[in-house]
């Protein structure tokens, strides 16, 4: 109900804890003292107009940026400032607002990249691969099987071997999501899943995400510009504006908060 400027550390530790997160680029303050918790098994939405710092927060959490101040904790362990690949190995996966797929690779190879941290084949075993016989080959087969399940789940069978750069936008978003899931993450960061979509597609995204959360037991942290979708999906929400937290609570509470309404609609009639 109230605006929590600092995330409160609860006695039942949440999966992700963000406290006092601040990010400055030279003179620009993209995030200012932001805090919130994400409980295991829930969907948490971060909303706010363009430029409010949502993606910056994601980048801080996933290790792309090193926060200027504040801490991010995952399962109680401090991850702020860690290198992104180590954060990934702890169980955090993400998608990107502008889609960062491996464009010249096929769908299945993109997904196989998601399996990278679960595989062990290095230089020497990779070089010595003999189809069907060596440990490298066995590992490939096992992980391909896993990836095939995801392809089924995300309905990507038709485009399995096509280079993802050729695929339509909506399909690319599904591939990116599939790639993140292939990592078997505990926490999934989804950045603007419905960007560029119409109402029908958006509804599909919503059901898709809900289903994923249920079937895979994921915790989802969602950035969503579209207010309706964010509110529908979320168990809890945080509203940002100009890098500051302006509302934190249940979706209904956040939606009705005067500061939020003002941020989205402006200051009234001009």
């Amino acid at each position: 109900m109230t605006v929590a400027a600092r995330g409160a550390v609860v006695s039942n530790p949440a999966l992700l804890t963000v406290e006092g997160l601040t990010m400055r680029f030279g003179g620009l303050t993209a995030l200012d003292d932001v805090g919130f918790n994400v409980e295991r098994g829930t969907i948490f939405s971060v909303i706010g107009p363009n430029g409010s710092g949502k993606s910056t927060a994601f980048n801080c959490i996933s290790g792309v940026y090193r926060p200027t101040a504040g801490t991010v904790r995952f399962e109680g362990k401090r991850i702020s400032g860690m290198a992104p690949h180590r954060i990934a190995r702890l169980g955090i996966a993400r998608t990107f607002q502008n889609i960062e797929l491996f464009r010249s690779e096929s769908t299945i190879d993109n997904l196989m990249l998601g399996r990278h941290q679960h595989m062990k084949t290095g230089l020497w075993r990779g070089v010595a691969m003999v189809n069907g016989l060596t440990s490298a080959a066995r590992e490939e087969r096992a992980n391909r099987a896993h990836v095939h399940e995801i392809i089924e789940l995300m309905d990507l069978g038709a485009v399995r071997d096509r280079p993802v750069g050729e695929l339509p936008y909506g399909t690319q978003k599904r591939v990116e999501l599939g790639r993140a899931i292939a990592m078997e993450p505990k926490l999934l960061l989804v950045d603007e899943p419905s960007a560029g979509m119409n109402a029908e597609e958006r509804a599909e995204v919503a059901t898709g995400l809900r289903r994923l959360q249920r079937e895979l037991g994921l915790t989802i942290l969602l950035i969503e510009h579209h207010l309706g979708l964010a509110i529908d999906l979320a168990d809890r929400a945080l509203a940002l504006n100009f890098g500051r937290a302006i509302a934190l609570g249940t979706p209904q509470e956040v939606r009705k908060h005067p500061d939020v309404i003002r941020a989205y609609l402006g200051d009234g009639p001009r």
Binding site: S55, N59, V64, F96, Q97, N98, E100
Partner: protein, 290 residues
């Protein structure tokens, strides 16, 4: 003796600075370092040579013709070749410039052979003049002066003329520039033309010193490159400073430590500097937004 070394350092540095600046202005508009720059300049210098020796034209005519040729060669390269790249990643565009460089080198070798030729110059290369107690060659003085004037002119052009300002706008934000009515495609072509002209001036100043052959611009190109990287590929002033710095350090090292390793020192310095400042001494690192 020190002043002697500094003088030759400044002279060499002028060439490097010219090449570095030429490189930076095209890099800023396309984010592609133009490796073909040296060979384009070399070919233009050959044009001047041919006019001077085969057609007996005067220096003014020959040099002007070479510069005009260079200008259109630059525009042509950008418009007809570089712009046509099907998959314009930075790596592939760099490779296109490398290909053009090899092609030009081959053409020059084919047409003019590998013989080293004496490049005629308005005054004898060996004439020496006393400047403040230091005896410097006339060529050095000319090099330092001409390079300086040219670079200042280019800076002034960018700052004070409408076209120059438009070019700066294109460099900083091509999309915004286009929206504002700046003919960005033409601008990029012009940038290559100007860059080519600058390179050719460097070539014409270098040719009398070392003989003219197709490998004329290899060293100046590499050093100019190194200087631009040293100073920072996206700062024209930094690149120029890098050029002078490189020339001086190189000559100091050559005079007082070892002549043999003179050239290597330049590159080793670059590697060391880049280790600590990956965008050059004065450059700014810009990262992509995700």
């Amino acid at each position: 003796m020190l002043s002697q070394v500094l003088a030759s350092g400044l002279s060499a540095g002028s060439i490097y600075a010219l090449m570095a600046l030429a490189l930076v202005i095209t890099y800023k508009t396309t984010e592609v370092p133009n490796f073909a720059q040296g060979e384009m300049a070399m070919v233009s210098a050959f044009v001047a040579y041919v006019l001077l020796t085969d057609y007996q034209t005067g220096f003014l005519v020959a040099f002007t013709a070479a510069l005009v040729f260079a200008f259109f060669l630059g525009i042509g390269f950008e418009g007809l070749i570089l712009r046509r790249a099907k998959n314009p990643t930075h790596l592939s565009l760099i490779i296109v410039t490398l290909g053009f460089m090899l092609g030009l080198f081959g053409l020059a070798g084919w047409k003019w052979g590998a013989d080293q030729r004496q490049f005629p110059f308005p005054f004898s290369v060996n004439r020496v003049v006393s400047v403040g107690g230091v005896s410097v060659s006339v060529l050095s003085v000319a090099t330092i002066a001409i390079a300086l004037v040219l670079m200042l002119a280019v800076f002034a052009f960018f700052r004070y003329t409408r076209l120059g300002v438009a070019m700066q706008a294109t460099q900083q934000d091509p999309v915004a520039a286009r929206i504002n009515g700046v003919p960005t495609r033409m601008i990029v072509g012009l940038t290559f033309g100007i860059s080519s002209v600058m390179g050719t001036v460097a070539a014409l100043l270098t040719a009398p010193l070392i003989t003219l052959d197709p490998t004329l611009m290899w060293d100046p190109l590499l050093k100019g490159f190194a200087a631009a990287v040293l100073g920072g590929l996206n700062t024209p002033v930094g690149a120029v400073l890098g050029g002078y710095l490189l020339g001086i350090i190189e000559n100091l090292f050559g005079a007082y430590v070892s002549v043999e390793f003179k050239s290597v020192v330049a590159f080793l310095i670059i590697v060391v500097v880049l280790w600590f400042r990956p965008s050059g001494l004065f450059g700014r690192h810009h990262s992509r937004k995700v």
